[in-house]
């Protein structure tokens, strides 16, 4: 039954409905695949037993004719989503053995639709990272390896556990969260699809917060169609999240049809960045040609404040994080240092021992930029830039319907290759952070292989709450790219 696990979400859904196999059979196949793939370290918590129980319940509902949109379909959940009764770590030591007694809205939506939870996937600590190397539970290994190489590569980040799980067929699809590229970048370097919806499309309730004005949950899938199916269920307006937006969630899967004839695709000229390998730019041009061939009009547009996006992001995100992470203080839950003198000592030791280096770095940056005397120079100016960057996009979207850019400046890199230089690591997000700053939806679609045989992605950026158009164009890229590659399953040999 090894073929079960390589199915797409849509194929498995249709097969289960046609009673070709049960959810228990499908779930069981994934549970054993996950066990075999432990060398990848994609999961922090495997929930095999619970998955089989959920699968049995789904099978009963299927037998009774009560079939939800994702009935019986096994998924992996990024360990940033709180799951009732299942340990939630945010890949940090500071949460200790925290077991929530509540469920995030996004995962609740999935379970309500009949989905099955296989476990909680690894990530960068508090989603801060682009390589999944800041996890307190160890780094994740990318299932892909370069041509003729045994070197372990990173799966991207922060949703690196989810990207590895999808690429290694350890789930039908996974959830991710994206604050500066954390869905799109790992999807790109593992050859799969990652969608960051419009800010406000998915509820943030029950998702451990990194940077509240940027965080957004989204699907990581094998295909564009699967992303459409997942988003339909994940998205909802939520009374428990004041920033979720009450705009109808359409049937994205149905809206995939229709082609892209007449659509205008913008190519932002500022995204040609010095130092980006030629193969990335070549793929970008190829992508534009594919869309043109399917009837789209290609237009050059300008996003003049692009160069400020990364610095703006690295002020706004740490500022919000420094405040969001203040609650992890050793007082109420999670890790508490032993042998402390007084309350200040308790704070300093618990936080000093509980948070990893990257998280501490960002807390310090965030605290600094919000401090009296520096606020105007940093935070305040970053907010003004955010407004200017937003205006860039508004003006660009007068000339086009979607934008096409590369997703990453290169393919997956080696484990440890960039850990000594945070700035080089931050550059991984150069094409993706802008979208978070302005709240727009973005998707990465696998588009080809690098010279050394590693997957590369193209990014499409859509207009607010128009994920339907975005997905339609993504499907066009997917169709033209005809990316059929999968990593060799070296870990289960």
């Amino acid at each position: 039954m090894s073929d079960l696990i390589s199915m797409t979400l849509a194929e498995a859904r249709d097969a289960i409905r046609a009673k070709k196999f049960s959810s228990r059979e499908l779930t069981g196949a994934f549970v054993s695949a996950i066990e075999k793939a432990r060398p990848l370290n994609a999961f922090i918590t495997e929930a095999g037993e619970q998955a089989l129980t959920m699968a049995d319940a789904a099978d009963k509902r299927i037998a009774a004719g009560q079939i939800g949109a994702l009935e019986g379909l096994p998924l992996a959940i990024k360990d940033l989503f709180c799951t009732k009764g299942v340990r939630t770590t945010a890949a940090s030591k500071i949460l200790g053995n925290f077991v929530p007694s509540y469920e995030s809205t996004v995962t609740q939506n999935l379970w309500d639709a009949g989905a099955v939870m296989l476990g909680k996937t690894n990530l960068d600590e508090f989603a801060m990272g682009s390589s999944n190397e800041t996890s307190a539970f160890g780094n994740v290994i990318n299932p892909w390896r370069a041509k003729n190489s045994n070197v372990n590569l990173v799966p991207g980040g922060s949703s690196g556990g989810s990207s590895a799980a999808v690429a290694a067929d350890l789930c039908l699809a996974a959830t991710g969260t994206d604050t500066g590229g954390s869905i799109r970048q790992p999807a790109a370097v593992t050859g799969r699809v990652g969608l960051k919806p419009t800010y406000g499309r998915c509820s943030r309730f029950g998702v451990v917060a990194f940077a509240s004005s940027l965080d957004q949950a989204g699907p990581m899938t094998k295909t564009v169609k699967d992303a459409a199916i997942m988003l339909k269920t994940m998205a909802s307006v939520d009374a428990k999240d004041s920033t979720s937006v009450d705009i109808e969630v359409p049937d994205y899967e149905k809206l995939l049809e229709g082609g892209i004839k007449g659509l205008r695709v913008g190519i932002p000229k500022e995204y040609r960045i010095d130092g980006v390998p030629a193969e990335i730019n070549a793929l970008w041009t190829k992508g534009a040609d594919w869309l043109k061939a399917q009837g789209a009009e290609i237009v050059e547009v300008s996003l003049p404040h692009t160069k400020y996006a990364l610095p703006t992001y690295y002020i706004v995100a740490p500022a919000e994080a420094s405040s969001n992470l203040a609650r992890y203080d050793g007082v109420k839950f999670g890790y508490r240092a032993e042998g402390v003198r007084d309350i200040t000592d308790l704070y300093e030791k618990s936080r000093g021992q509980g948070f990893g280096a990257e998280v501490q770095r960002r807390i310090l940056i965030g605290t600094y930029v919000l401090s009296a005397g520096y606020y105007d120079a940093y935070y305040s100016r970053a907010q003004k830039l955010r407004t200017l960057i937003k205006r860039d996009f508004e003006q660009a979207f007068e000339k086009c319907d979607v934008l096409l850019t590369p997703t990453t400046p290169g393919p997956a890199f080696g484990v440890g290759a960039k850990t000594s230089d945070p700035l080089e690591m931050y550059l991984q997000d150069v094409f993706t952070v802008t979208v978070n700053l302005v709240g727009l939806p973005g998707i990465s679609v696998p588009a080809g292989l690098s010279e050394n045989g590693l997957p590369l992605g193209l990014q499409l950026i859509g207009q607010a709450f128009d994920e339907a158009t975005l997905l339609r164009v993504a499907l066009a890229v997917e169709t033209a790219a005809d990316f059929k590659h999968s990593p060799a399953k070296w870990w289960s040999v």
Partner: protein, 506 residues
Amino acid sequence: MVVRMNAPIKNKLLKGETGEWEIVIGMEVHAQVLSQSKLFSGASTTFGAEPNNNVSFIDAGFPGMLPVINEKCVEQAVRTGLGLKAKINLRSLFDRKNYFYPDLPQGYQISQYKDPIVGEGEVLIDLKDGESIKVGIERLHLEQDAGKSLHDQHPDHSFVDLNRSGIALMEIVSKPHMRTSEEAAAFLKKLRAIVRYLGTCDGNMDEGSMRADVNVSVCRVGGYDEFRKTGSFKSLGTRCEIKNVNSMRFIAQAVEYEARRQIEVIEGGGTIAQETRLYDSKLGETRSMRSKEEAHDYRYFPDPDLLPLEFEQSWVDAIAKTLPELPDEKKARFMQSGLSPYDASVLVGERELADYYEELAKGVDAKAAANWLNNEIVGRLNRDGLSITDVPVSAAANNAIIQMIFDQTISGKIAKDLLDVVWTEGGDPRQVVEARGMKQVTDTGAIDAAIEAVIAANPDKVEEVKAKPKLSAWFVGQVMKQTGGKANPAAVNAALKTRLNLPDEG
């Protein structure tokens, strides 16, 4: 009514070694919003619950929890703003005030920093001499309360009770428009009356529903006038903030102590450091809590979990329509009906007292009703340790007693006895008067008979009175005694004069 923006400084100066000083006072009052649930969560706000029983995951700062604004609290803040005749801001922002403390579970307090929900307004404060002073309101904003740290429950552990965590507070900030401890206490008293009339805060200072921080500074005579003219704080002294003063009495004491302390420091050649001080009510002194250098850097920034708070003017107008008559309006109406400014302001100080008075005064002389209430009813309440809401005799019953005095059914003296009877035994005053024969005797026959009886028993006194007419009071007393206090004193006087041939002036 006399209202001054800036009352003359008579009796408002403090004498130091080197001359006279003026005190300048501003207040920040935290008033707990009356609402069923907290500002950003559905947890209950009931006072007195077991520790940590009124706590949701939001109030405890659990991972992934998000605040959702409670519309009722917003309405209460707007209502209070309207009661303070203040500008209502149709768009305001919530900010995070960041600091670490065990009873602050999120590590930040959600408050309003740059853009509060309510802007400038004013409060008229009533002083003992009947004078009223206008005190400016700088702003009112909404914020979360913190929990409570308990350090005295265990020798080496501290405990945290989060029941208060997340409860909605209105922070009401005055302008530095008060000049004496009396004015400061009067401000808090008036503010308390207004929020209680509005039903936006129960004003219960014992339960911590209302807490005041008092800013005190001193300056040389003339400095305050200069400040009012130019708006420049440079003409005022450096202020110290006295935290959490929780009664009117303590406010007066804290201000007096702090002003004296500052004058002594300055006159001794020192300077006042801007700092936060704590009032120790046991020792009757203030002491330093933290200096400006030690002050927290709160790193305020807009809370990204909350959208800007926006509403329509029409919503504000609809709330304005439901506002009750407020103390100042009621006071003006009472004064029109004949009450002195002092009586009127005492009566409107508590809404329940004013309501009681209004029923009591129906169809009777306003001044008489106010005197009856202040002297007889409030006197007995104080004696018995009761409040106006526990009064055992209804306003209607007291109204009947006053009417009986006016139609001369009973004397003023009998009325007091009658009140004592119904106070302890209950019953309808008119029936009690009938049943116990307490009616006043105006029948001259009965009075004459009593006079004859007294004369017959005291022939020697008759001669004395004739010689010294002022002694007739003794006869009046005897006759009253003879009639069991029921005789109309005026009728007794007249009959005695005729009988004993006394001159008119006597």
